[in-house]
Symmetry: C2
Subunit: 639 residues, 2 copies
């Protein structure tokens, strides 16, 4: 870092002031041109942003250079300040940013996105940036990169609880490579932060073990020295930068309305005059009018990265009733052993939220303690951090109960997905199979919720053998995956002849469906915990001369058209799941069949309301999803 612990010289100061001034003009021009955007916070933060970006180790020619310092913008709406600064530093043409801001098809979006060179992380939903920063900091520590991670935050977003989780994590794992800035202009959208939601920001940080340096956020020397102190401090440090919203243009200063509103062209003219700069808006208007979006199609959602170079070892073959979560735990432990050097150095990380024993990560933690992170009951933070860490070429597994790893953290995964992360979310305890812990713990919406995220692939293993193969498969894949499993020990799925179905020769591929039984009287689609019951149903019905075609659908978001046609030919389709019947497997199949124009009788069996607490086998009976009830229901429909 090109840090000097002294005062800028007069000439340096002058140069910085000139450039910061020019950045201000760029902020105002781009927002006025776009007729939207957030100039107020951009003007208050641009001084420290400018000093920071110019001091740290980054390279406009190699913005993705691995050893770079990293800046995470948590308050993504200050994009004008970020674009102005990075543009002045030649990460791209500043004129492009000014003229294309918020234009469809330009990379210069309303909130920062990593398509912009120099931008690390997309944000816009406030309060997640510090967690993302922890993810980057952890990745760099694990990879033994000696650098600094900076997180830029607004003051309003300090109100978000996720920040307190991030603070505690940073202290527990001694992330002294993190420095956070708070742009303390004391105005949020609706007014004075002290009226909207009074908060003792400094005390909050100190209570969690952080150091705080308070500065005048418009004094370049103070900014420089604070950065110097912070990066040499052994504790995570907050730089509380006292700033002025709209700083630099008299009539904008301390006016909350400029949080999210641009100047009119007339106001801009006055502002530029005050900044001592010429009004060249016409030039940018013309550039804007002539802008041609480079890419007029929707983004491709299939991300084709190379597979990770990992020894996925030999399958473990389960012959006795075993729970899928143990199979996952054994598989990831086995992968750790087989890739010990890789794992311990940097390529793997597993996150837990106080549920090791239940989500079966204890073995991994023992084998690779330096790649295992115990995050306590802080799921929001963990989900974001795990996502951010996975952007650094690390295979990150976040294991949790379904209700925490999916329901509680849906929006964190949404932002991860937007950031094209490489996260493997492993959820146990999904379905009615959760049992006695009751409705708050029964995650019966994991498919229904996560299918809203375009780049998350969802895989639901049928038994421990398939779980083993699936974990080995995803461990080499780039991209976001959700693997969900129940709680109970499951029967091993076998062929009609009594052989193990998912044996050593079984190869899993995303989108694969497995025909477990053949038959022409009806087709039964099943996923997860209920799969062995589906086989039992088919076996029993076969004895009555009703022959079911049974399909294990472990990838409900990618269902093979051929098998749907084959199933539809039987004339009757049943779907069977311990998931919300409105949003799970049955829903996925119905949707696909309508799109394909297939018709057949169609019956969905699943969970029709929040369920009660009780042993899972009892619950299946209670809700008529046990083998006997299902036989009755199917026969009734086929009559």
């Amino acid at each position: 870092m090109n840090l000097k612990y002294n005062k800028f010289s007069e000439s340096e100061l002058k140069k910085i002031q000139t450039q910061a001034n020019y950045a201000r003009s760029a902020i105002l021009k781009m927002t006025t041109l776009a007729k939207s955007g957030h100039p107020g916070g951009s003007m208050s933060s641009v001084d420290f942003l400018f000093v920071l970006y110019n001091l740290i180790n980054i390279n406009p020619k190699k913005p993705e250079w691995e050893n770079r310092d990293r800046v995470i913008i948590s308050n993504g709406h200050i994009s004008p300040a970020v674009y102005a600064t990075l543009g002045l530093m030649d990460f791209f043409k500043l004129d492009d940013a000014i003229s294309q801001f918020r234009l469809a098809g330009s990379i210069f979006e309303g909130h920062v996105e990593p398509d912009v060179p120099g931008v690390e992380w997309a944000s816009g939903n406030l309060g997640q940036g510090l967690s993302a920063g922890c993810g980057f900091a952890l990745a760099c520590k694990q990879k033994k990169i000696e650098n600094n991670i900076f997180v830029i935050m607004g003051d309003g977003e300090q109100q978000k609880g996720q920040l307190s989780e991030a603070r505690r994590f940073a202290v527990k794992y001694h992330l002294n490579n993190i420095t956070a800035f708070c742009d303390y202009n004391q105005l949020q959208i609706c007014g004075d932060i002290n009226e909207i939601m009074p908060q003792n920001v400094i005390e909050n940080y100190v209570s969690d073990g952080w150091d705080v340096i308070e500065i005048d956020g418009h004094d370049f020397n103070e900014i420089q020295n604070a950065i110097f102190d912070a990066v040499h401090n052994d504790a995570p440090t907050l730089i509380l930068a006292n700033t002025v919203m709209g700083k630099g243009v008299s009539f904008m200063e301390n006016q909350e309305k400029y949080h999210g509103a641009p100047l009119s062209e007339e106001e801009l003219e006055l502002a530029l005059k005050e900044l001592g700069l010429i009004d060249d808006l016409e030039k940018y208007k013309e550039l804007r009018n002539n802008f041609k979006p480079s890419n007029l199609t929707q983004e491709d959602c299939s991300i084709n990265y190379t597979d990770f170079d990992l020894n996925i070892g030999k399958p473990i073959l389960y012959k006795e009733k075993t729970d899928n979560r143990s199979a996952w735990g054994n598989a990831v432990a086995d992968l750790a052993i087989r890739n010990l050097k890789l794992v311990i150095s940097n390529s793997f990380a597993v996150f837990d939220c106080d549920l090791q024993g239940s989500v079966k990560t204890t073995k991994f933690a023992e084998i690779a303690p330096d790649s295992f992170y115990e995050c306590g009951i802080m799921e929001h933070h963990t989900a974001t951090m795990a996502g951010a860490m996975s952007k650094n070429g690390i295979q990150v597994f976040f294991a949790d109960f379904g209700v925490f790893g999916v329901d509680e953290t849906y929006n964190q995964h949404r932002l991860n997905d937007i950031n094209k992360t490489n996260l493997k979310v492993i959820t146990t305890h999904v379905g009615l199979d959760v049992g006695e812990d009751g409705k708050t713990h029964q995650c019966i919406d994991y498919v229904g919720v996560m299918k809203n995220l375009y780049n998350f692939r969802i895989i639901i293993p049928a038994d421990p053998n398939q779980t083993d193969r699936i974990i080995r498969y995803i461990s080499r894949k780039y991209g976001n995956y959700l693997v969900s499993m129940g709680r109970s020990k499951l029967d091993i799925i076998k062929t009609k002849e009594g052989k193990i179905f998912f044996d050593e020769n079984y190869k899993f591929n995303y989108g694969k469906a497995d025909k477990l039984r053949d038959g022409n009287d009806a087709a039964l689609f099943v996923m997860g915990t209920l799969t062995s019951k589906a086989v039992e149903i088919a076996n029993k019905l076969a004895a009555e001369n009703i022959n079911l075609q049974v399909w294990n659908i472990s990838c409900p978001l990618k269902i093979n058209e051929k098998i749907l046609k084959e199933a539809a030919e039987t004339g009757s389709i049943f779907t069977y799941e311990d998931h919300n019947v409105n949003t799970g497997l049955g829903n996925c199949i119905a949707d696909k069949m309508m799109e394909m124009g297939l018709s057949s009788k169609f019956y969905k069996f699943g969970v029709e309301n929040y369920a009660v607490s009780g042993k899972s086998e009892v619950l299946f009976r209670y809700y008529k999803l046990d083998v006997e009830s299902m036989i009755g229901r199917i026969k009734k429909k086929l009559r």
Copy 2:
């Protein structure tokens, strides 16, 4: 409150000790019988729970008496302690709780549920109880009930960030009627809290402006005096109760394994001996074996409450282009004026998260400032609090952007829904119509996500007139509703003859669909922002002699079967939405059609991936959802 600020007498102490001892035996028996549950924290918290419940104003004969004190159990897994205490106080038969614990069909579920007399709030997902407590406290304050609200929490859950949001809210709104307990046994599932996630709990509370009283949580006099001090304190107060996990049975004490594991029958025998109580497990075994669940069907999800007695006034008729969010803001302001006495006293509340101007609640805030709560950027807390407040006979509206009111707070609404709350979630800024703020702000999954919640009704208005009617309609209804709208000004929907479609005579009912145009060549289903475009498409195609039947589906979760049949008879169905195409209107219709066995050609048009930032009209063109593109796409399919 029967509080005495002095020492219990020796005989009182002896009596309490005897009863607490008996409660301990009940905890151990029920968990051993169920072979699951959480005895450890139940044993550490039962002393202060017992003193608390016995001191406060509650009545086993009238558990729902409006002026009662309220106890919110945030750490719902200590249900055994709660059941034991309430049972001893005759809220129900203790023997029932002991023998039925965690049995399917019993009210005594694994985590506390309000079906149990004396239990106010279902929990299990940690970290939400303090927010729920704020909701109850706010409701009581607004209703001028002079009582106390107690929140019981574990120590592990202090790690959840949502707690810090709740603390700040309680201080801002001076909720001096709240007292919280933290069962500080220093063990969470995976071990010592100081190792799992070091935290300065006291400093955290103090930094947010709370008072903290630290006590020995097993000393009855200290417990009593702390409660006395806390309820007479003018600041929200935390009682940090230093306790011992497994307290009372030597071999259970300070053993983290008893967090979530019961004693074996042999261990129970020893434990009962140590407690000086007889081993009557056999009696309870028999009761358990003979238990017959009272209700073997799935819970009814239709909650039939009486409508609120509210003057819903006269519709506002919009004749010019207006945004739906302004129509919502005007309607709720109008309702406030027409029900001023009711609103100001207690029947209405509106919550905002620093977005008043955008979500249009400013007018309401001016008319009824005492029923308006500005919660800052603390959506998790606000969603829970709003839900909890709505359980107290108050119509609660929580207005927010879609990404915050749905995506960020999904799990809070899930818990609200499980609690059968009465919450109206009003989200603006949904769909591609969000425009320039880009993908992080474009909520394109509001139907897809919220349809996982069984008791939430979803309504998407087509224009400002329908918005006005819908808001007036739901303002009288009990139950959970989501009303979602875009950002832009919309054309007024008109009949073929040019009359306002949703005029003064239009009556909205949940489940109503509106035929906007008639035709036999194909049916076009639409919702929300795109509805006026659908009409324009039909008008233009009619000129080419292609006659579309256009249906406005404002209730995608309750689609009339008759209209689907009518539509299917045209032979081609199109769905049209600025929602994720996989999970929105098209998906709902596909599912319903498959279930009904209807067949027709079927084409879904919607958002196929995260979208870019740009003006909404430009985005519609970009993604081929504008009128001209849609005409082309429809004609191509009909060819």
